[in-house]
Symmetry: C2
């Protein structure tokens, strides 16, 4: 479905087999991570990265650890739910800034079928989905980070960022992730803009990770309530992966959603000179099936990465 959606022509690799030759969905997700990292390292002429930051949605993040295993690169596992890719960019940038290694890599993955059976129901049940639900992206995105920013032109520099606080909006509906994450995204964006004395229109693009169509509308409203008015410069990755005809209800979600949009589309647009200043906001819902069963509310988190052409 991802290969037939809006980004179809932009991916390095589309597999017709969502099992990636494996026997189970979970091993399939690890295989997908391997394919992605292999592609990344093949495309890169740089030396082997000094670290690898990654994560996914599976219990104990095994898609990432089994996917990273064959590459034998120092590995740090992250869990930021669907905000993992942005979390990796922030930590990776700090590690390069500390000048201990010149180069590292960041990835994040999700798989529709491994996520469905872990978080919801076995696919064979054929459950009906609510209008607010989103479809977990089967995809993995990865990027290389380098300390030597002069190496590429136009450079895509991580100028700064904001680590998000956990925000609990009191939502308990595990089929409405947009509503869970929107308050966290608004909190992070508004405080970042306030801190820097800027407004949304100072940026060419403000990109949230996977709020979906309902969450993105809510995010606009919450920002407006706080005096930040978002215009045409605002896009949510969750509304950009699948086409209307594919009918995924509220759009796309998952760690892979923002990771593949970033790597396949945003980075190419950046290289074509389309953008100079972009805010990338990774959004995550910090639930587990068990916290939902135990009737806890679902907190959200959102990490912001500020990208600029020049430091």
């Amino acid at each position: 479905m991802e290969g037939e959606g809006c980004l179809a022509t932009l991916f390095d690799h589309v597999s017709d087999d969502d099992l990636f030759g494996a026997k189970t969905w979970e091993i399939a997700e690890s295989e997908m991570v391997k394919v992605t990292l292999r592609n990344l390292f093949k495309k890169s002429k740089d030396p082997k990265p000094g670290f690898l930051l990654g994560g996914d949605l599976l219990n104990q993040c095994t898609a990432s650890s089994f996917g990273a295993l064959p590459f034998q690169i120092p590995y740090l596992g992250l869990y930021g739910a669907c905000s993992t890719f942005a979390e990796g960019l922030l930590i990776g940038a700090a590690m390069l800034e500390s000048k201990t290694v010149p180069c590292g890599a960041v990835f994040a993955s999700s798989h529709f079928s491994s996520a469905e059976r872990q978080y919801r129901y076995p696919l064979e049940y054929g459950c009906q989905r609510t209008p607010t639900s989103q479809r977990t992206v089967t995809g993995c995105g990865a990027v290389l980070l380098q300390a030597n920013s002069k190496a590429r032109s136009p450079a895509c520099l991580i100028k700064g960022g904001r680590i998000g606080k956990i925000v609990d909006g009191g939502v308990t509906d595990a089929n409405n992730m947009g509503a869970v994450m929107a308050p966290a995204a608004a909190d992070t964006l508004v405080s970042f803009l306030e801190e820097h004395g800027e407004n949304a229109q100072n940026y060419d693009l403000i990109l949230t990770g996977d709020l979906g169509s309902i969450g993105a509308e809510l995010f606009r409203e919450l920002c407006a309530q706080k005096g930040v008015f978002l215009g045409e410069e605002y896009i949510d990755c969750g509304t950009q992966i699948f086409s209307q005809e594919q009918d995924t209800h509220a759009g796309a979600s998952g760690c892979g959603c923002s990771a593949i949009y970033f790597a396949a589309k945003l980075f190419k647009q950046w290289q074509s000179g389309m953008y100079s200043r972009v805010l990338f906001l990774g959004t995550g819902a910090l639930l587990s099936p068990l916290t939902v069963q135990q009737k806890l509310t679902i907190p959200g988190i959102c990490h912001l990465v500020a990208l600029e052409k020049e430091l």
Copy 2:
């Protein structure tokens, strides 16, 4: 059991109620995280940390996210299995080195009862445990990291470290975590010493996280095979939490094991001037119940943190 074990007198807080006043083991673990962080921030006279790095063993690391929620500190979730505390120290040090914030905090937790029912069987089954099995520590350890190293004396400085590679020794027995993690620990320690042209005896203490008695012996052997001979300076936290009489078979394990040893014992020893050079190695097993059911081998990882009195 932790409060009756070897470190009994060293903890800031011992609870007689392993439910910490909560209704479920998982919420109990979050409550334990809250108690620990509250204690940390009360003891510290420093400003509010700029970031909080933490993780645990529960699916989607919810003990950490729900535990961190009330403090409203920018939060980055980690998943390094039982190596999480060491992973947090390395990432935290890099973040301070990047000079964006002057202070941050790191924590890691585990809970015997939440881990048992998630990874193994409900406690009510009363399963027999194999001789190689270890007991997951019910405990949470947390530390404050500061960029201004002159603030305390004797300072405990993170001088360097080594992010571990994922090492797959081919072990499939989920009740023998020591054997899973020992090859990763040996790989990290030996390559660190080689890189710095040092031997084990250059350090006052070499401390592994939770290899347990069987894993620690295996670790000694694997190091010796690679020409690194460990003497009296080597200790494993997993053998130091519970007493012989408590009969936990191969010892203690879990994210909390090395975290509570570090915070309750090592740090106090350091402050008394006992050590000048210490290597702290966080060990982790990157399995999930599902990867075991799917007959995958269990890879291990080990991150090394080098602590020194002076830079």
